[in-house]
Symmetry: C2
Subunit: 185 residues, 2 copies
């Protein structure tokens, strides 16, 4: 297959990042069969910031929508938020989140990402987490990227049922949890 | 009833604190019907440090017993530890642990106290938290004292079942959780 021209590549790159802003430069370089440096130049010419910056920009635009808590109290960057329905956040794991004996991320960091995202999606002024049933499917290591998705599955009698799934950067599910929040006044 | 002599009071005070080191100066003053200042002087003469110091001393003597994690990774002061069976920890809640909108302690701090204590009681070199079913019974406020008790209820097929209950300083249960940890190698 003939290699794409620079113009074709840049057009396609722009389209790809508009659909999904989470491609890394490495992934794009591999896809287009060019060097990472070429992708960086493409981004520069197209005025597309680096992944970390793109994620941060997205997150900031979502924080204002949160009702139940202050946006900055969410652990992770808030990527998508449809209050009352759906939320997505990203957490980059680091060495200082681990149990030092195992080098595995402490369960309460993952729990905190899930719980705070679940709170953020709820369409109510004030809620309290009542019940959580959670499962850690695979150990999480440092330098991973956790993508959490929270969905409101039911609201009844001032109780909000929220399901949260967390995948790692290899798209493997590492956590799932069911939460019930109570509206309080 | 005749008020106890200083000698009688100090003898009884010493016995009380040997049985249960968690009495506050306020509680002791109220019990003996003397001023808090008198209790402080009694402690000074008897060489008994203040409550916070007593708790810290107890905790340090327990940390060395922990197998699964480093002692300092436990959230709260480890008051009692019988590895493979029972653990008790105390966490003083502070303003900076709260969701600012509600002034309620974030669920993941309570979860972290419970999870790290549950890990500490397990008699195995390395474990991973697999499943947790938890319930927050009452909102926890800052400036409270959370007393968590973890009990190993069963060990089977390298799975460790641990129940954790947390009471506040008024002896009301605020949290309970059931955890299953898997031994990993």
């Amino acid at each position: 297959m003939k290699k794409k021209s620079k113009k074709e590549r840049q057009k396609e790159l722009l389209e790809m990042l508009e659909k999904d802003c989470f491609y890394t430069d490495e992934e794009l370089a591999s896809y287009f069969e060019v060097s990472i440096q070429t992708i960086r130049l493409d981004r520069l010419q197209l005025g597309i910031p680096e992944l970390r910056e793109r994620v941060k920009n997205l997150a900031e635009s979502n924080l204002d929508k949160v009702k139940t808590i202050k946006g900055k109290e969410i652990l992770g960057e808030l990527i998508t938020l449809e209050v009352g329905s759906l939320g997505i956040s990203i957490l980059e794991t680091t060495e200082d989140m681990t149990y030092s004996k195992t080098n595995i991320i402490k369960g309460h960091y993952i729990f905190a990402q899930a719980e705070s995202l679940a709170m953020a999606v709820i369409d109510a002024p004030v809620v309290l987490m009542g019940v959580a049933n959670i499962k850690n499917i695979d150990p999480v290591r440092p330098n991973d990227r956790l993508i959490a998705k929270a969905e409101v599955v039911r609201v009844r009698n001032k109780k909000h049922y929220v399901h949260v799934k967390i995948n790692n950067k290899n798209h493997m599910q590492v956590f799932r949890g069911k939460f019930i929040f109570d509206e309080i006044s």
